[in-house]
């Protein structure tokens, strides 16, 4: 595995008041040796693994449940994926679908931070034949 480069995708939750511009400025203000590329959903941060981890920890500390991140295989601006260079964007539909879900996940994380519990969902067992016959006859 490459230890040199790590590219991180930082996505802002739709229910957050944070903008990609503010996020990029926060990362720049940390004065770390990373490249930052602003995107419509947040930004891409690229650099050495340990430095990117420091940036991520600080972002998580500042915008705890508002910014979500995942690793990105391709470097920022890679011509095989960059829209400006007519690259293909095969993962974008999934990112868009997950972005729509982030508000609910943000709410879930806030509930988890408050220590709320949930009832375990009972596992569905097999339906007995007698029950099945009763349902058919009704």
């Amino acid at each position: 595995m490459s230890d040199e480069r790590e590219t991180r995708l930082l996505m802002i939750s739709p229910s957050s008041m944070l903008t990609p511009d503010q996020l990029v400025r926060s990362v720049h203000a940390m004065n770390k040796d990373v490249k930052v590329k602003e995107t419509c959903y947040g930004c891409l941060v690229e650099g050495r693994r340990e430095v990117v981890k420091e940036v991520l920890d600080q972002i998580r500390g500042k915008y705890r449940n508002e910014v979500f991140s995942k690793r990105r295989a391709y470097p920022a601006g890679d011509p095989r994926r960059c829209r400006a260079q007519h690259g293909t964007r095969p993962g974008y539909s999934q990112l868009e679908a997950e972005w729509a879900l982030l508000s609910n996940v943000q709410h879930g994380l806030e509930c988890a931070d408050r220590g709320e519990k949930v009832e375990p969902v009972p596992e569905k067992g097999l339906l007995p034949v007698r029950e099945f016959k009763k349902i058919c006859e009704e």
């Binding site: 391709y74 993962g91 679908a97």
Partner: protein, 145 residues
Amino acid sequence: MKVFIDPPNSLILFDIVERFGHEPLSAMAAIQEKIDNLEIDMPPMNVTLDDVVRGLKYAGVEVPSGIRGRMAMWGPMIEEADAAIIMDNAPYSFGCVGCERSNEMLKYLIKKRGIPKLHVAYPSNEEEAKNFVVSAKEFLEGLGK
């Protein structure tokens, strides 16, 4: 601990696993290996014989090649994993023979390994999202205890 996520490229699962202190095993890491250590930068020529041989361990020669190719990438990650989180019925986890059979094969391999696993339903509202996050948190915090 290393936690395999399914779908392997999910942003939400990757973030949640990392947030609660574990290392997520995802497709992005495997693909980065291909990008950074490339011998031939010309897909599909960058799929070498090693990948085919690796895939044969999980899927035989009669299985469609799409499945074998995917398992070559995901199979080693499942072998390395200490636990797994699987999101059921995600709307973007669909596909034809290649993708859907690969998804089923992933679930089968995880079950066969016998590692602790958590199945979570894809959340469609706030209540379900709360159940999802809280149960994932309890599962991840309970790992290694």
